[in-house]
């Protein structure tokens, strides 16, 4: 337990990691209290559908009614970014969750047992890694039909190989340690050795990568939505909002930044979300390395 | 015999996250000219730190808090306090007048350079003038040999080279070669220096009893065995004929039979090179093989210093006695020292050894004892005397 306390203290000491924590906590609060911050209008059954105030294509600047203005199609930006936080967390956490689990299972089997199993699993990861990730994700989403769930499936499918590789490498290293041999010497079964000894010691680099990747996944999801291959139109998703602003990035000549709010505000939300996770991931990496050295 | 190194009141502390560690506390130690002094102690005794303090290589978060380490400098014969020197001056002493051999032979050697290159580097760094002088002499012999058309064509070039090497041999900061060494292609014109360094390297390898030194010089560290690597490291340390060689557990990671060869080598070095050796070890047997005097440390302080015969025949400090009793010998009962080694963060008050000492007096908890001379060249820090 003193380990956790030490880690927590290190996390807070570093100003950058502190900033990361604050950002993520802020986003979490927004996500949890979304119904209070941006209440769903009466009669709507799906809170993720952004309320529209008309059907005009031209975005409207921020006003009293629409704090962040409206984007193309008169979708309320404020509502969109607030509920989009929930979507971002959902996409990020679910994708990383799936990917880490799949990666751990396949990676540890490959790393611990080696031999034919290792070869087979590694060749499968090779096949997946041979495709450019975004292209493959796009293909999968197209095949499954645009929705946030297909985005999640697609991103999970293209991200798991690097995790399997990473865990396999770390397990390969840990496998040679004396305490693993000692456990086998006690009569432990392979399952026990992997679950109780190898994995807990090998998991840290993976956790670091996972926290850094949550931001990357959200970015990728936003990219897919921007290309129209993501959430259905009108869905509260940051990528969606930026895709609506696609035609309004540059305003009329003479006032090119007229519709800045349409693209900048969703963009800022994406930026800070990714930044927060990146800072957190970096902080994890920093404290876990010297901690190992401290021993 | 004048002392080579005089350490007085040395204190080294480590400011760690958990607290302050008194790695070395009030140390007074002398290393005499030409002697092999053994520094014996267990983990946490501060013996390795003493070596690092002499070389001013204490790692962060450690700091040399106080004290003086007076060293008789070779050039000029004056006495310098190593702790007050500038880093630049200290660098010119490291590897040159004081050099160190570490425990892991593989760790001190760079795996991507050959043995010969690494040893030559020491010569090129510290012995440039001598190399220049030798190179100049070689060019001289070329010039005087004369004869041949090819030779006469090269003459002016040689004359220029001679001037160059003369400069290196003469001045301490010659401008021309320094400028040359910064221009990539022209640097190669100083190849004679490297040549001379290489031949000195081969001689040095022969001195440390490496078989077929010319061939070994072009090998990489991973191609040599542990014993060979350690000899190479010793060669590197002895390259500039240092006045003080510090050896930190140099034989601990070697096999027993190889260790025996190494100890022979150390004995020979003492005779041939006349250098003083600070031999750090936790193995009392090794200390008795190689050392003239032995100093025993515990928890950062000196317990006892005496000649090797005195220490083993008449050990006086309770810790020294206990340590000797704990060495396994055939047919002897193993005596253990009760308790555990002193906690580095919260050391016992007064004498650090008193909680484990069978003859502890009440005053041992209050006050630490000063080093007292109890016999011919035999000093003990204990209230019993």
């Amino acid at each position: 337990m003193s380990n956790l306390r030490f880690m927590a203290r290190q996390l807070v000491k570093n100003p950058l990691s502190l900033m990361g924590i604050i950002i993520i906590v802020a986003f979490t609060i927004i996500a949890i209290f979304a119904p209070l911050i941006a209440p769903t209008p009466e009669g709507r059954w799906d809170p993720y559908l952004i309320p529209r105030d008309g059907y005009s294509a031209t975005p409207q600047p921020p006003s009293e009614e629409h704090i962040f203005g409206t984007t193309q199609g008169q979708y309320d930006i404020f509502y969109g970014v607030i509920w989009g936080t929930r979507s971002a967390f959902r996409v990020g956490l679910v994708v990383i969750g799936i990917v880490v689990v799949v990666g751990i299972v396949l990676g540890s089997l490959a790393g611990y047992f080696g031999g034919l199993l290792d070869e087979v699993i590694m060749r499968i990861t090779d096949i997946f890694m041979a495709f450019p990730t975004l292209i493959l994700a796009m293909a999968i989403v197209s095949a499954l039909g645009a929705s946030l769930n297909s985005v999640i499936i697609a991103l999970a499918a293209v991200s798991w190989p690097s995790y399997a590789r990473l865990i396999r490498g770390d397990i390969l290293q840990v496998r040679e340690e004396d305490y693993i041999e000692a456990s086998r010497g006690l009569g432990a079964s392979n399952m026990r050795v992997i679950l109780r000894h190898a994995l807990p010691n090998a998991i840290y680099p993976t956790l670091i990568m996972a926290s850094l990747d949550i931001g990357a996944v959200v970015l990728a999801a936003a990219a897919l939505s921007f290309l129209g291959l993501g959430a259905p139109p009108g869905y509260a998703d940051w990528g969606q909002l930026t895709s609506f602003a696609r035609n309004w990035i540059v305003g009329p000549p003479g006032d090119p930044l007229k519709y800045w709010y349409a693209v900048t505000i969703p963009g800022l939300f994406i930026l800070f979300f990714v930044l927060g996770w990146n800072l957190l991931g970096d902080a994890f990496r920093d404290i876990l390395d010297p901690r190992l050295a401290r021993r | 015999m004048k002392d080579l190194v005089r350490i007085r009141d040395l204190a080294v502390r480590f400011y760690t996250y958990e607290g302050v560690v008194y790695a070395i506390d009030d140390l007074d130690l002398d290393i005499r000219q030409g002697e092999t002094l053994g520094l014996v102690g267990e983990t946490g005794s501060g013996k390795s730190m003493t070596a690092l303090a002499i070389l001013r290589l204490i790692p962060y978060p450690g700091r040399i808090e106080s004290g003086s380490i007076v060293f008789s400098d070779r050039d000029g014969g004056s006495e310098l306090d190593l702790l007050t020197l500038s880093e630049g001056r200290m660098r010119s002493i490291r590897g040159n007048q004081i050099s160190m051999v570490f425990q892991e032979p593989g760790a001190a050697l760079n795996p991507v350079f050959t043995i010969g290159d690494q040893i030559s580097e020491v010569y090129l760094l510290h012995r440039r003038r001598e190399l220049g002088h030798r190179a100049k002499q070689r060019v001289d012999s070329l010039l005087s040999d004369g004869g041949g058309v090819a030779a006469s064509a090269k003459r002016p070039f040689w004359r220029w080279q001679r001037r160059l090497y003369n400069k290196i041999a003469g001045e301490s900061h010659p401008i021309e070669p320094r400028l040359l060494s910064h221009i990539p292609l022209f640097r190669r014109l100083l190849w004679r220096l490297r040549d001379e360094a290489r031949s000195l390297t081969v001689d040095m390898l022969k001195d440390v009893e490496i078989p077929d030194p010319a061939r070994v010089a072009v090998h990489y560290p991973h191609e040599l065995s542990g014993g060979m690597k350690q000899r190479a490291v010793i060669a590197m340390a002895l390259a500039c004929s240092p006045k003080l060689l510090i050896a930190d557990e140099p034989t601990t990671s070697l096999d027993v039979t190889i260790q025996a060869q190494m100890l022979e080598l150390f004995r020979r070095i003492k005779v041939d090179k006349g250098a003083s050796v600070l031999f750090i070890t936790h193995n009392l047997g090794v200390a008795s093989e190689v050392c003239d005097r032995v100093a025993v440390m515990y928890a950062g302080r000196l317990c006892e210093v005496a000649s090797v015969e005195e220490i083993f025949l008449h050990p006086s400090h309770p810790y020294t006695k206990a340590l000797l009793e704990a060495v396994p010998m055939p047919g002897k009962e193993l005596q253990t020292i009760p308790g555990t080694s002193a906690d580095a963060l919260n050391p016992p008050t007064g004498c650090r050894f008193h909680p484990r000492c069978p003859s502890a007096l009440p005053m041992c908890e209050q006050e630490r004892a000063k080093l007292k001379e109890i016999g011919k060249d035999h000093m003990v820090a204990c209230h019993l005397f």
Binding site: E181, H197 | T257, I258, L313, V327, P328, P330
Partner: protein, 322 residues
Amino acid sequence: MVKAVDGVSLAVKRGQWLGLVGESGCGKTTLAKTVVRLLKPTSGHIYFDVPDEVKAEIEELESRDTNSGKLTSLVRENDLATFSGNMVRLFRRHAQLVHQDPFTSLDPRMKLKDIVAEPLRIHRILSGEAQETAVKELLIRVGLSAGQLGRYPHQFSGGQRQRIAIARALATKPEFIVFDEPTSALDVSVQAQILNLLKDLKSEFGLTYLYITHELLIAESVCDYIAVMYLGRVVEMGRPEEIFHTPRHPYAQSLVAATPVPDPKRRVGRIVLHGEVPSPANPPPGCTFHPRCSRASDECRELEPPLEPISNDHYVACFHPL
């Protein structure tokens, strides 16, 4: 192909403290790990607690060179080398290994109580409170206090960690413990404590020890019987006093001579062995020691000397013993 262990025949009697002495590359660690089946032998038999009659029967059937079903079944039941998963697991309750490096043999992310309780959990011995009591007793028995159950390995010193490893090895009440240089990473005073602890535990629990070390002094101080290994083979076996005072194999002799003793008078007349230990991947033909031996003859260069008795309970593998 590296012949780490080349045709070693060794017997450890019940209650004996057998010391296996040798330098790096001699195969002692490989032998130790093979004896507890952490490594699988390429060939040969390992008999753990098998009655003499059974061993004799197996030998007889083998010499007849028939491929009988009886032979296979006998071997499969008694030869540790051929045991399968479950049988190995059962074996592990009776034989344990203590590793050399206390800094890496304990899982750094496990608490002390889990480390010592693990063998009990694996073999489902005791549970709940009874298990916790057993763990506490084990810790007290090896000299640690029971109040440190919640700590992690890195909070302990080397000597304490080795004690934890010993407690863990004792958990299933084994009869046989193999020690792989357990004190080589420890200070002299700590080493003495551990050795005395091992002595006490052995007499209290009636244990049998196979003790690997490269330090002859330790072996001679605590062992009942010593086997000296060189490059995968046993070159001499005998009682400690005999090996120390009258070694008969040239290698054993140079080993004794090369071992430093804290006695300044004992420096003269030392026989320093020349050359390096050859790599086990490329052993010299015949007697593996002949390149460094001052008594080597042609016979030594071609033939491998067998391990033969030279006096009561004293064996040497040499054509020209001292």
